[in-house]
């Protein structure tokens, strides 16, 4: 019936190293254009939202349209502060890795608005199930940087006792779930936590975070299925930062649909948001949180953004994408845009900005000093190897007690 034979399609990003950056085929609608439905709207009534882009800040930095959350300037300034602190923290910690004070680090540069705004849109006791790129959640929730640094340095004050790869934080007191090295596993757990909250007649909701690449994992499907079936009070945030490691979002199915559109097939609302627009991220997260908290079920939010930095300190993006993509990203820099907005509304200026920047740098330095005083990776070598056998189970079983003994005896023997 057809003459031609079949061909296998392999998605390719538009630009590779050496190519001239070209984002011309990104359709960026003007700010203020997208309608804002009631929080109890039927998912089927807002399917188009999954293909649109919720934007509040226009090119001049004015907040426009129905999604404008009309936040008070102090609140905006603290949002700015959290984002700036997150970025400064990232810069510092990468330097620590460079000089060998830790083995690994992951920055969130360019994506600070997503974690910070969503954290500020939730209650402090709502539970977050993050991926490894939401350090902004902890910063917005006031977790002392020194705790994060202690984990990164695996030093004697490390909250997880030197067991985890750097940045795999676990902060129960800040409603921040233990980060898993295995992608997307946190999503069904977030849904289960939300189901438990609903089962218990609680008022707390959950939020899960995942990347564009990891949305291809099974747990993404499980999470959305259980979320819709049980109408779990959970918000699923997809950070579409265009890249996994070396593969672009088209390799995760982004060539023919948005990630927000995934929600449609499950009968869930899917919102697509300008991820570099603090106000839009806040407004969407707030809408979804209110929806969940009022028993109207789960929402999927795609935050459309760009991963400005390398995937991690183990990665060199110049091998697979043009170095200047980020500079040309049409949605700009979330910090610059919120700063500009505050200036436009007369609540901020460059002097105050620089002053704040200096203050944050000093704060990070001071926290770093304290953390370093507890040690950095291998320096001094951690001195409680026996603790390696704890927490495998609540009570240490016989065979682990025996293994611990053997290990300590071995350690005591001087090498010949």
């Amino acid at each position: 019936m057809n003459k031609k034979s079949l061909q296998l399609h392999i998605p390719e990003p538009k630009c590779r190293p050496g190519d001239k950056v070209d984002f011309s085929d990104l359709k960026i609608p003007p700010a203020g254009k997208v309608s804002r439905p009631e929080i109890n709207v039927g998912a089927g009534e807002i399917r188009d939202h999954a293909y649109d882009l919720i934007r509040v800040l226009d090119d001049k930095g004015k907040a426009v349209g129905p999604w404008n959350p009309k936040l008070d300037p102090d609140f905006l300034r603290s949002g700015l502060r959290h984002m700036m602190l997150t970025r400064e923290f990232d810069e510092r910690m990468v330097k620590q890795q460079r000089v060998g004070k830790t083995s690994f680090y992951i920055k969130s540069t360019g994506e600070e608005a997503i974690a910070v705004a969503s954290a500020m849109a939730m209650h402090k006791d709502d539970m977050c199930f993050p991926s490894y790129r939401q350090q902004g959640l902890l910063i917005a929730r006031g977790c002392p940087l020194v705790r994060l640094m202690n984990q990164i340095f695996s030093n004697k004050m490390d909250p997880v006792k030197g067991r985890q790869l750097p940045i795999m934080y676990s902060e129960p007191d800040y409603g921040f779930f233990s980060i898993s090295g295995n992608l997307a596993t946190q999503l069904p757990q977030a849904v289960g936590w939300a189901m438990a909250s609903a089962y218990s007649g609680d008022k707390r909701i959950a939020a899960g975070y995942v990347g564009d690449g990891a949305s291809a994992e099974a747990d993404f499907h499980y999470a959305l299925t259980f979320a819709t079936v049980y109408q779990a009070p959970v918000v699923i945030h997809i950070s579409n930062n265009q890249w996994a490691i070396s593969t672009f979002q088209g390799m995760a199915g982004g060539e023919h649909a948005t990630f927000a559109a995934r929600a449609i097939g499950y009968g869930l609302p899917g919102l697509r948001v300008d991820g570099n627009d603090f106000l839009a991220c806040y407004a969407a997260s707030k809408w979804a949180s209110d929806r969940a908290r009022n028993n109207h079920g789960a929402t999927v939010i795609e935050h459309f953004t760009y991963r400005a930095a390398a995937h991690s300190t183990s990665d060199d993006p110049s091998a697979y994408r043009p170095a200047d993509e980020w500079k040309n990203w049409p949605l700009g820099d979330p910090i610059e845009r919120l700063k500009q907005h505050l200036i436009v509304i007369g609540e901020w200026d460059d002097k105050r900005h620089e002053k704040l920047q200096k203050e944050l740098e000093a704060h990070v330095v001071e926290q770093l000093k304290e953390a370093s005083s507890y040690g950095t990776l291998g320096n001094p070598p951690p001195d409680d190897p026996g603790s390696m056998f704890e927490d495998v189970l609540k009570e240490m079983p016989g065979r682990l007690i025996a293994q611990r003994e053997e290990m300590l005896k071995l350690r005591a023997m001087k090498d010949e």
Binding site: R163, T185, P188, A206
Partner: protein, 332 residues
């Protein structure tokens, strides 16, 4: 045994509102093996309910519930279908306490029917305990009778760490001893078929010596306990038979004490042989009883093939095979 398991869930739910039960077909219908029958009616739709056919989702959400503070007991319809949930069990449930230094835990119980002998073919007959006992952070339990089943399941639900609770489906209705050509005695006619009323636990990590003997130690669990008892009787061998009950934690003392006494050991399970749990038993026995052993330790297990539908009884390690092994260790 089905009633015993049902009674265990009932007692747990009655006692602790944090206990809830879900899985495929467990709600309105009460489970394909009826273990959850009546619980939805008694405790309401939100405490015993059906789940989507998504084992990874069932286990992943259970972990989230455990993190919240509940004690979910989930059913995987057949152990053969637990693999889609393997990542959540191995990478998440088993490691959560460790990686969070105790900050988060997953006190979940995963119930699932295992084993063959019901003409279920290769995807309704598997005994996967050996892949779970290799994973640190998991507790793995398999009862051999109703009295234990109830007490062990309640102990698992009480346990603050994730537990794999394997239910040998062939003994749901009676102590099947491998003689498939003979009528099955129902549990009602069996000493351990009588289940205590109300709440009680059987401690995890304590083996049960179901038959005392001096000549050879038989290590087994689940359905094989009854097969081994039958074999010992039929061969008139003075075998000491130990029902391990919980595979991890393991009752090493009971094992070592018995083997040091008998000097001989046979390890029996229905799972495939290579790298099965029996290999660990052999390794432990030879490590701890080397100088007491008078003969090589024998393993009697399922063959290293999938469970074949038509040749089920040539696959199942029955009393005849166990008997041959017993005689072999006695003679060598």
């Amino acid at each position: 045994m089905i009633q015993a398991l049902n009674s265990a869930l009932d007692s747990a739910m009655e006692r602790d509102p944090k206990v809830l039960v879900y899985g495929e077909d467990v709600g309105y219908f009460g489970g394909v093996f009826r273990v959850t029958a009546g619980l939805q009616k008694k405790y309401g739709k939100t405490r015993c309910f059906d789940a989507p056919i998504a084992e990874g989702g069932i286990i992943g959400t259970a972990i989230g519930m455990g993190v919240y503070g509940l004690r979910p007991v989930v059913e995987i319809q057949f152990a053969d279908y637990i693999y889609p949930g393997f990542d959540q069990l191995v990478s998440e449930a088993a490691r959560l306490r460790y990686r969070s230094a105790g900050g988060f835990t997953a006190p979940i119980t995963v119930r699932t029917p295992c084993g063959g002998g019901i003409f279920g073919g290769q995807t309704h007959s598997q005994s996967p305990e050996g892949i779970f006992t290799h994973v640190c952070g998991l507790t793995t339990v398999m009862p051999s009778n109703p009295q234990d089943a109830k007490g062990l399941l309640l102990a698992c639900i009480e346990d603050d760490d994730p537990v794999i609770f394997l239910e040998p489906k062939r003994i749901y209705n009676g102590p099947f001893d491998g003689h498939h050509d003979r009528p099955l005695t129902p549990w009602s006619k069996h000493a351990l078929g009588e289940v205590d009323e109300g709440y009680y636990t059987v401690p995890l990590g304590k083996a049960n010596r179901v038959r005392a003997g001096d000549q050879v130690t038989v290590l087994c669990y689940g359905t094989m306990v009854h097969v081994c008892l039958a074999a010992a009787e039929e061969q008139k061998i003075d075998a000491e038979i130990i029902d391990l009950r919980s595979l991890l934690p393991i009752d090493l003392d009971a094992i070592v004490e018995s083997v040091k006494k008998t000097g001989r050991c046979v390890v029996v399970h229905e799972a495939t042989k290579t790298c099965g749990y029996g290999a660990e038993l052999v390794a432990l026995v030879q490590e701890h009883c080397f100088y007491h052993l008078e003969a090589p330790i024998e393993r009697v297990t399922g063959w290293d093939t999938p469970y074949p539908h038509a040749y089920e009884w040539d696959y199942f390690p029955g009393p005849k095979r166990v008997g041959v092994a017993l005689k072999k260790v006695m003679e060598s």
